[in-house]
Subunit: 324 residues, 2 copies
């Protein structure tokens, strides 16, 4: 199968929103009047962002999900994406699964494939995603103010437990591993929540490298500090609350590590004034996405991690760094 | 050096056109009123699109040039780009050279880096480029009509001669090899010509996989055929006209292969009505880019390749296919 046959068979779809989709030198996009285009790019490499054994449909889902998550963090509504794909060989079973998982998520978010590139080489998936946000309404990292609440959506840390099982540092009962693996392999981009938080959240970021690392981006961009309740973060994990968890050897240190610097969560971490708690709750309800308060923004620089009683937690937490 | 240090040192630039450049979850772009955004993505893989020994500054140039060439083929004015980079290791000499070559071309085309991604993995460069074109004015592949002239910009085929030297199938005197290698490694995207051809060209494509293959895109999209003068195409090559060429063993068959299906030219191939020849010439002069007529669009489907006397050329020509 040649390059153009491959595109026609697995990736061609009738153009919808784009005046010109796959098939010309460029795709053409026009945001509606008064809207800005939000753009983000993520590259996924085999062995680093996913295992070679991953189900291709889940990989197709995840490759787009991590990009949609960036749109969510800006409060942008998904519009379109481009896909560049380097493949070691034309494996039709793999392409069928990958494109199925990719388009299922794309259609769920009304996000259209408008262009791309395919080539032979080590497996590499690079997606650039486009969203629309009213001019001036994008959620930035730089708007957090002292006194703001610190919120997180959904659940944290379970994806990291799956990674530790794959790495062989942890054993889990099959039922727990399945839950953790699903969080790792098919994250849920919080695009509805991001849009609902326009005008409410003062800053937002998506949690990809771990809560501590990604919170650091908000703190640096906003010139503030924060206090985070480690136990409130651990309480966002799904696995410790499971009836089978008691037998799984999940130490308090491991749980804090996973919740605070686990990575691969693709939840929204955001700040909002304390007097907007009702508005945050209403936005979360509209987006059908649970949210929880896990800390507070402080004027004093630096990050202070405390337990439920307010005492400092001694454990050290970092961010996931692809070059460390 | 970590991921964020690497970005700060080699790829951070003050934001200009984008309201929000590198450093938040998304970049924000807003085309001017009445303008559409033209978007294109190209992925370059080591060993397939470039040799591991290539000078990193030339590679930085080429990675952006092949993307700008897609904007040129749509007649779009370059605005911005994102860069996703997978690197086997942090090699500061390589990064310095690559970013220098990349930004030199970006600045020459007033095209701003607005976001990206870096990770560790096999060397892979994925750029998505954004340009601006008045709504409805983009040059498409679908507008060629029977009777239109077929034009090509600049020079053809010399890049392929360099590739054949690297492959060991051809020897060239050093002076000739340098010219061919420069065409292969630092192509010139024809963005000024593309914009100048708005309202004049009826269809356009950039020549990346070879003239015959890329012309095929226009013929299929427009539902027409064409006759191409192989000798007029060979006359666009630089090397055969060089005083040293006589000793270089450049057979007529090799020259036709290079001119018609060499690839890596990044010239514009376009069609225009015969009565607009003066307008094409004026556009080429405004863009300071030579153009030449090499054929004509026909109502009868299929591609007919003839010599200067109008006799069919028996040699077969294909397109470069990354999966063939």
């Amino acid at each position: 199968m040649g390059e153009f046959d491959l595109i026609a068979r697995y990736f061609a779809r009738p153009a919808r929103r784009s005046p010109l989709g796959t098939g010309d030198d460029c795709a053409l996009l026009a945001p509606a009047p008064g809207m800005q285009l939000a753009v983000s790019t993520d590259m996924l490499v085999e062995g680093r962002h996913f295992l070679s054994t991953v189900d291709p449909a889940r990989l197709g889902h995840k490759a787009l999900a991590v990009n949609l998550s960036d749109l969510a963090a800006c409060g942008a509504k998904p519009l379109a994406f481009t896909l560049a794909l380097s493949l070691p060989a034309v494996d039709e079973g793999w392409l069928e699964g990958f494109s199925r998982g990719l388009f299922a998520l794309a259609e769920a978010h009304d996000c259209e494939l408008v262009g791309g590139d395919t080539t032979r080489g080590p497996l590499n998936i690079c997606i650039t995603v486009f969203g629309e946000v009213p001019a001036g309404a994008a959620l930035l990292r730089s708007g957090a103010r002292a006194g703001d609440d610190l919120w997180v959506s959904g659940t944290l840390g379970d994806a990291r437990l799956a990674l530790e099982v794959f790495r062989g540092t942890l054993g889990l009962p099959a039922e727990l591993f399945d839950i953790a693996r699903q969080r790792m392999e098919t994250p849920t981009p919080r695009t509805a929540l991001g849009q609902a938080l326009q005008g409410i959240a003062t800053a937002a970021v998506d949690v990809s490298d771990g809560l501590v690392g990604d919170l650091g981006h908000i703190l640096r961009a906003s010139g503030v500090g924060a206090q985070v309740d480690a136990d409130a973060a651990v309480a966002r994990m799904r696995l410790p609350a499971h009836p089978l968890a008691a037998t799984a050897g999940l130490t308090p240190e491991l749980l804090r590590l996973c919740a605070l610097s686990g990575g691969d969560d693709y939840e929204l971490l955001f700040t909002a004034p304390a007097e907007r708690r009702d508005a945050v709750a209403a936005a979360a309800q509209r987006a059908d996405t649970p949210v929880a308060r896990i800390g507070r923004i402080k004027a004093e620089r630096g990050l202070r991690i405390v337990d439920a009683g307010g005492a400092p937690v001694a454990q050290r937490f970092g961010a996931f760094d692809h070059f460390a």
